[in-house]
Amino acid sequence: MYTQGLDQAGSKPRRRDGLETDAQLAAFQARIDADEKIEAKDWMPEAYRRTLVRQISQHAHSEIIGMQPEGNWLTRAPTLRRKAILLAKVQDEAGHGLYLYSAAETLGVSRDQMVRDLLDGKAKYSSIFNYPTLTWADIGAIGWLVDGAAIMNQIPLCRCSFGPYARAMVRVCKEESFHQRQGYEIMLTLVRGNAKQKAMAQDAINRWWWPSLMMFGPNDEDSPHSAQSMKWKIKRFSNDALRQKFIDATVPQAEFLGLKMPDDKLEFDEQTGHYRFGEINWQEFYDVLAGNGPCNRQRMATRQQAQADGAWVREAASVYAEKQAARNAA
């Protein structure tokens, strides 16, 4: 999964006066321009480090929160095969969270701190997971559209200038690609099924199409930090370019399924070779980002509850470890 709005939160990182010389900054940029990978122990501007910590940790949080909407259908998956596949997918997401947190840790922030920031509401995660999964078809739509959008975003991240993030993305992308195909296969099975199943598939697209488009973040003119990220080669393509690429790839897939995107203005433009599409409801996007989506509170409450329920377990494990250490020392 992908976290959109990466350049939304947080104050703009400032240059560390006196600690970062123009020569250092120029040398760093030269390395970026030469397509060198920046590794964890290399010198980097504070703003670069902070941007990456924010982006990678938001990405990790998105994987973890993203387990909830899909987990909502694990107990009700319609066949044992589907149940096993969905379970493996949700497990993959936990795994993605784990190596993304590890990638962020190479930048000097602990996983505990990142998790605390999430639980305290300081850190963001992808807004898409604040929408509810109401039917089984939503599991198909998430795989196809949400993971599809994630792949569009993440393939370029495999070439991101920061080595640990880029390498984590290579593996994540392979798994996301499988997730996307399983989502599409669920949709294909539904549209080949009975009338109720077809209606379920259409309803899912009606609800997930626009939020998927929002995953690419605001329009380029409203995305102030993008230029710096592009210069640092953290970001390779603009929000609008990726969104267009996603739409161009996805609309024919919907046509193959016999489903209609909920956009009357959607139309292929012969001249440009791209689809034209209607206006995205950016008010909804900013509302959900601000905490006013259907499931924001529920998602956070679930995570906070899990954390609270686990307190006595973590305490027991650490006390046991201390006892063991004392026994071994004796």
Partner: protein, 256 residues
């Protein structure tokens, strides 16, 4: 006298019971997905549930072949009523807190490992083959949950008190594992299946050693509840099955 068809029926019922145990426990563990406080445990739980769902699929497919009426794994999982499931009652109990889940898993896996070990040399090739595969998974599960039990038992006063209570609460469900019926007898006598009396002894020794390491007292064997083999379940089972079968029941005959 045990006839050929009695043996056939026993093998079928036995395979179904193995499938039911795996599915019902897997279903319970799945409820915990996305609710773990630690990522590593989240991954472990998903792994363990996935193994159980996989085992259920294999045992149900095996049952389908033994029955020979064309029923699939999904027919057994989704189109039988709760009274037709013959899992152990222990496995359908709600997850409770982390300690309850761990104790349930320790008590069952300690039995299941021994049951599978015995089944590896069962003369029913289908069941033996699945057992040989499942045992590798369940040995790992047992190791994992045993490590947790030791930490909770020998951790803080609170964790010790909590798991001690879990043990007392769940102990009464353990007798059912060893109180076999004609199906168990038939599989033992005609197919070299597990000898429950022997398994009970080993289970008792193994669990006792583990509890000792976890600084926990082994509860007394008192009154034991049973009914799973007869399809007489706890009040919790109906809800578990209702969720499990939701889609299949809402859209009868649909392909998924």
């Amino acid at each position: 006298m045990t006839t050929h068809s009695d043996v056939e029926q026993a093998r079928l019922t036995y395979a179904l019971r193995l499938g039911d145990n795996a599915l019902v426990l897997g279903q319970r563990l799945i409820e915990l997905v996305a609710h773990h406080p630690e990522l590593e445990e989240e991954l472990a739980n998903a792994n363990i549930s996935l193994d159980f769902i996989g085992q259920a699929r294999l045992f149900y497919s095996c049952a389908g072949e033994l029955e020979g009426r064309g029923r699939t794994e999904d027919d057994f999982a989704f189109l039988r009523d709760d009274g037709e499931f013959q899992n152990l009652l222990l496995l359908e109990l709600p997850n409770g807190h982390f300690g309850d889940t761990i104790v349930r898993q320790v008590l069952f896996d300690s039995f299941y490992v021994l049951q599978l070990e015995a089944l590896v040399s069962c003369t029913d090739a289908g069941i033996a083959e699945i057992a040989a595969r499942a045992i590798k998974e369940v040995r790992y599960h047992l190791r994992h949950v045993s490590q947790w039990l030791i930490r909770l038992g020998d951790g803080t006063d609170e964790s010790h008190a909590r798991v001690s209570q879990s043990l007392l609460d769940l102990w009464r469900y353990t007798g059912e594992m060893f109180s076999g019926d004609l199906v168990d007898d038939c599989l033992r006598d005609a197919c070299n299946g597990p000898d429950l009396a022997r398994i009970q002894e080993q289970w008792h020794d193994n669990v006792s050693a583990l509890l000792k390491e976890a600084t926990l007292d082994m509860p007394e064997d008192g009154w034991m509840i049973s009914g799973g083999r007869q399809g007489v379940h706890t009040e919790h089972m109906g809800f578990l099955i209702a969720q499990l079968q939701h889609e299949q029941r809402a859209c009868p005959g649909a392909s998924w």
